[in-house]
């Protein structure tokens, strides 16, 4: 098995079917749905599509679901992993470009909707501003000029999956932003690949943005902790 597509899904029975159908078209990509304690028919949709489904007994959040998926991928001998949202926002047509970046030697390839030649994507002003701050945070801590640090559409090499399977920060924001910092500090190359993201194809958008301030502070504490410890033991991750 070479590439595994980890699909975290929380109550996404409406859009999941189409997403799985699109992913099935990609050769050599083995999908696994991580049902994050959904109360709807998410697991049933995966089963009907003949796709492996890992059901968590309760909701662990996107980060926890992704981490579970990474461990499944390792168990099944994946060489590369790509993470795709279940709500249809990520276009499976971009998977090839992400995987190509990994084949070219990158440890982590991030699908950016704001890169120079990415498709158009509209976000609210507050969200956009928060995203800019997070991009800058990544740049000042790692030197990597991120344009879409919160993008969950990513591919990673097996060494990075092995590293993250036990280190993956499960908190919201940390699961995207802090991961970049961790992977960079562990000495892997991080690159961005322009992608076009779509409006979610169904289901309910997350209300997590209302907790953005709390999550942002939490992220800062996490990063500060990493920096503090990193300095003390000479930059080792």
């Amino acid at each position: 098995m070479s590439a595994v597509a980890v699909i975290p899904a929380f109550n996404e029975e409406a859009p999941l079917g189409d997403v799985l159908a699109e992913i099935a078209e990609i050769d050599g990509l083995v999908p696994v749905v991580v049902d994050d304690g959904s109360s709807d028919g998410t697991a049933g949709v995966a089963r009907n599509a003949g796709v492996a489904c890992v059901r968590l007994p309760f909701n662990l959040g996107v980060g926890g679901a992704v981490r579970t998926g990474l461990r499944w991928a390792l168990d099944h001998g994946a060489e590369t992993v790509v993470i795709i949202d279940a709500d249809g926002q990520h276009d499976p047509a971009d998977v090839a470009a992400l995987l190509a970046a990994i084949d070219a030697g990158a440890g982590l390839a991030i699908g950016s909707r704001f890169a120079a030649d990415a498709g158009d994507y509209a976000v609210g002003a507050t969200r956009r501003r928060a995203m800019r701050i997070l991009n800058r945070l990544v740049r000042t801590t790692t030197g990597f000029a991120a344009t879409d640090a919160t993008s969950g559409f990513r591919a990673m090499s097996r060494p990075v999956v092995e590293y993250l399977a036990c280190e993956y920060p499960v908190e919201y924001l940390a699961d995207t932003v802090e991961v970049i910092i961790l992977v960079r500090r562990a000495g892997h190359e991080v690159v961005e690949v322009p992608v076009s993201m779509r409006e979610r194809a169904g289901g309910v958008p997350s209300a997590r943005r209302f907790r953005l301030a709390f999550n942002f502070l939490r992220l800062l504490v996490g990063i500060a902790g990493g920096v503090l410890v990193g300095r003390r033991d000479g930059g080792r991750p």
């Binding site: 007994p57 908190e171 940390a174 709390f214 939490r218 996490g222 902790g225 503090l228 410890v229």
Partner: protein
Amino acid sequence: MSAAAQITLAVVALGITFWVVRLVGLRRLRSKYALLWLVITVPLVPLAVFPAIVDEAGKFFGVNYAPALLFSLSSLLLLGIVIHYSWELSRLESRTRRLGEEIALLNARLDDAERADDGEGET
């Protein structure tokens, strides 16, 4: 407040702050709990340096013994943290129960599957 008391308070507050952040970096403490403690220790630093803030706040709220304000505030914060902990504990308890149930049911399904396999073998 004497200079010695001020310095002690500031050093202790800063020390705890660094310790908490370091625990997060070592992954011994989840950042959400760290945030809880930082809410208490970080404001202590300016309070130690400028104790006049407490007196001003006392005047503002019409309290004649200003430090009482500090005491009530800190007990309120600690109360909040303890209540938060019982909430987290309750959540953890119900999750462990769920995990136990889940494993028991998985075992039962495994037994069923093994019995079905044996049955096939005999016929």
